[in-house]
């Protein structure tokens, strides 16, 4: 299946990809202030027990994101 964009929830466990842009302005404001910038290397570490959140590493910094939040971060294919 070919798609235009991939976002964080599409990553397999331990897969790494480069973040391109954010599709939600409010979240972009929050994430950039936390140091999550376009161009960052994102590694999927694991899913939360109830499946709604992801444990990711952004340039080596550990972070938890909700599924909706993760889906608003578009990745390089």
């Amino acid at each position: 299946m070919q798609r235009r964009f991939r976002s964080i929830p599409d990553l397999k466990i331990h897969e790494t990809a480069r973040a391109l842009s954010f599709s939600d302005a409010a979240l972009a404001c929050k994430l950039t202030s936390m140091g999550f910038l376009p161009g960052a290397r994102v590694e999927m570490v694991r899913q939360s027990p109830f499946g709604n959140a992801f444990y990711v590493k952004v340039d080596g910094v550990r972070m938890a994101l909700r599924r909706e939040e993760a889906a608003s971060i578009l990745l390089e294919i």
């Binding site: 409010a26 404001c29 950039t32 202030s33 140091g35 709604n52 938890a64």
Partner: protein, 718 residues
């Protein structure tokens, strides 16, 4: 404040997880004060520091913040203070704490503060771990490029703190005359907006003027006309706040990233650290929640079991002191005031200290090591079902110690609705003030048997009380979720910090701060209630007490009662005739459906100041029976008769039925689990929600629910 010159104020500021509080604690030690309890309206921690030259400065500990563009009420507080020069917390100079291991992410806020034109020193924290990781920093290069002094420190080991203090001293002469070149160059629209704000509101610092335009909708210190002016400026200049925020943030990164890269040498790859291995277990999809439950069980065990030893010791010490005083001092009402009023009140406060201290100790350790952030990640989904946020778990766990600081910890929740629900439901969690009430009532209602030879029936009921609290909190959250509406976005996005050993000095100070705030804040209320209660039960309207005593003696003589029985009857009748007795009697119709008599009524009434007063109240009320008798005539056993035994002997005066049946004790347990009976909590709810509306609403609905549930229990089990 009136009188005296204001000391220079130095703000300590930095990102979350930068080790900011460790540095603050190192600099101020025990010279700190916080406003945790009613009467004090301070939101930010302050401490004092004496500089080598002899001058004293006030240090202000700001909540950890990523940016001046806030997403939580904690961060809003920082923006509010920094955009208002009239604020009583507005700093004259700043110490910026950054984690040297993540400098490339921790300098955004610093560059924003540079543009506020305040004297500033940058402290690179966690020098000790940086060395281990092989990170090297060219401090003078960094200092030169940023145009501010830079010091390498370690908050944990205390290394280089003297250097930092010296740099703080050098900031003082610079107060009020800093003019740097703006770090961030505003675009044309931003410049026009800042200029318009300067002309209309007189804000001369362009970046602070821009802040007003960004945040005018919620900044609390603006008046209506300023707000309208700012709205007009924003509209006419076509200023799109959110987009400008993101663009400014990215522009700042572009400016400071080369500076950091130039000054820092760090290894290319970070090895698989212990944090990853620990998290493989603690945040595991299946294992994670089990570890969490195990951790909660340990905490439960600690407050129920371990703290029993020091509590028993405090309890018996006070009992001994009390009887010694009664024997030594002359029999006068002032002696009674001291023993039955003041001492009983003090015992009621101090007996909690071990429990509260132990709970805060464990919770602080969990926070310090970094586990709480994982809990937020694990339970975000569940909490959202109940109208809350993963961050609410931290408040709810804290609520098992004391709702007041727990409610304050909800400030990290950005979304208004999720935060309000957290504030409203946290008092349902059984706090340590409920424990003594539970202990007395469970001891009476539940036999000391072991079910299946393993777990005690009493322990089981005790656990059930906690479960009831959690269930009530979740149910209330689920209900409120339906009725509250907000358009604010809700975020999880949280950093999971590297695990580290707790800094014991930090832990000790936090526990000390919370325990002393409890003793002073809540203790005051308990002591006042205790003395007032003593007076109300010792005195009555006119000569009612004397008449009741005479009448009781006549009745006893007519019935041919013995000496001890006569005394008990007399004491009982005197209490009934006292002010407290009258109040309890007037209140009895309200609680009679629940199976309670007027003495419990007095206990309930006084509990509305603070729950922990209940056992003290009953102790005072039931002790009245014997304290009138000559202490020397009392047999050893009678003197030792515990409150519990006295309560079991109580009967209703009209029907002669025992008061403390199984159903009544159970119903009282449920009432105490659910009712809102804490003035300190109501005061903090008012402060955190900004109006009495929510505090009042919380009081009425929680107490109403408690009454209904207690009534149901009485009907089912009677």
């Amino acid at each position: 404040m009136s009188g005296g010159q204001r000391l220079p104020r130095i703000g300590v500021i930095g990102n979350p997880n930068s080790g900011k509080s460790t540095v603050f604690n190192h600099l101020t030690g025990l010279r700190q004060k916080t406003g945790n309890f009613p009467g004090v309206t301070v939101d930010i921690k302050e401490g004092s520091l004496r500089l080598p030259g002899g001058a004293e400065v006030t240090l202000i500990d700001f909540p950890g913040t990523y940016s001046l563009y806030p997403t939580s009420s904690d961060e809003k507080l920082v923006s509010t203070v920094l955009s208002n020069q009239q604020s009583e917390f507005f700093p004259d100079a700043l110490v910026y704490i950054a984690d040297v291991n993540h400098l490339e992410k921790h300098l955004l806020l610093l560059t924003q503060l540079l543009d506020l034109q305040l004297p500033l020193v940058l402290a690179l924290n966690m020098a000790d771990t940086a060395e281990e990781l092989g990170i090297k920093v060219n401090v003078s290069r960094l200092s030169e490029k940023l145009g501010i002094p830079v010091v390498f420190v370690s908050g944990r080991t205390g290394d280089n703190m003297n250097r930092l203090v010296l740099e703080i001293e050098k900031l003082i002469p610079a107060i009020g005359n800093i003019s740097r070149k703006a770090f961030f160059e505003m675009d044309a629209t931003e410049k026009q907006v800042a200029e318009a704000v300067r002309l209309n509101l007189g804000e001369n610092n362009p970046y602070r003027a821009l802040q007003l335009a960004h945040h005018f909708e919620w900044l609390p210190f603006l008046n209506d006309s300023d707000r309208a002016t700012l709205a007009t400026i924003v509209q006419t200049k076509n200023f799109v706040s959110l987009r400008a925020q993101v663009e400014e943030t990215l522009a700042r990164y572009d400016l400071f990233t080369p500076i950091v890269e130039d000054a820092i040498q760090q290894p290319q790859q970070f090895p698989d650290t212990p944090t990853d291995r620990i998290d493989a277990v603690l945040t595991h999809r299946i294992g994670g929640p089990f570890v969490f439950i195990a951790v909660m069980l340990v905490i439960f065990q600690a407050i129920f079991d371990w703290s029993a030893y020091p509590m028993d010791w405090i309890d018996s010490s006070f009992a001994e002191l009390n009887s010694w005083l009664q024997q030594t001092l002359p029999a006068h009402w002032t002696t009674e005031l001291l023993t039955d009023g003041i001492l009983a009140g003090l015992a009621g406060i101090l007996v909690f200290v071990p429990q509260i201290a132990l709970l805060f100790l464990l919770i602080t350790i969990l926070e310090e090591v970094g586990y709480m952030a994982r809990v937020v990640f694990l339970f975000d989904r569940i909490m959202r079902r109940f109208g809350m946020n993963g961050r609410s778990v931290v408040a709810l766990i804290g609520g098992s110690a004391c709702a007041v600081p727990a409610i304050m910890s909800s400030r990290t929740i950005g979304n208004w609705k999720e935060r309000l629900i957290t504030v409203l439901v946290t008092p349902f969690i059984s706090c340590s003030a409920r424990i003594p009430v539970y202990l007395v009532l469970i001891g009476m209602a539940v036999p000391r048997v072991r079910i299946g030879g393993i777990i005690g029936a009493q322990t089981l009921v005790f656990g059930a009380m906690y479960a009831l609290g959690v269930a009530a909190a979740l149910f209330a959250g689920w209900t409120l979720k339906r009725y509250l509406k907000t358009r604010e976005p809700s975020f999880l996005a949280i950093e999971l910090p590297v695990y580290r050993m707790p800094d014991w000095k930090n832990v000790g100070l936090t526990v000390w701060e919370k325990v002393s705030a409890f003793i002073i804040g809540a203790g005051k209320i308990i002591l006042i209630v205790s003395v007032a209660l003593w007076a109300l039960s010792r005195f009555g309207p006119g000569d009612a007490i004397e008449r009741a005593a005479t009448k009781a003696q006549q009745e006893a003589a007519a019935a041919g009662l013995g000496e001890a029985e006569t005394e008990d009857l007399t004491a009982q009748k005197k209490l009934e005739a006292s002010w407290a007795g009258q109040m309890g009697k007037a209140f009895e119709p309200v609680i009679r459906p629940l199976g309670y008599d007027w003495k419990i009524g007095i206990g309930l009434l006084t509990s509305f100041a603070a729950r922990e007063v209940f056992t003290g109240t009953l102790a005072i009320l039931y002790n009245m029976g014997s304290s009138e008798a000559d202490i020397n005539d009392r047999s050893e056993n009678e003197a030792k008769a515990t409150l519990r035994e006295k309560m079991q002997r109580e009967t209703f005066s009209d029907t002669g039925q025992p008061v403390y049946t199984f159903a009544t004790a159970l119903s009282l347990l449920v009432f105490y689990a659910l009712a809102m009976q804490c003035m300190s909590t109501l005061a903090v709810v008012r402060r955190e929600t900004g109006s009495w509306k929510w505090a009042l609403w919380q009081f009425i609905s929680m107490t109403g629910l408690a009454w209904l549930a207690a009534w149901l229990v009485q009907i089912i089990f009677a």
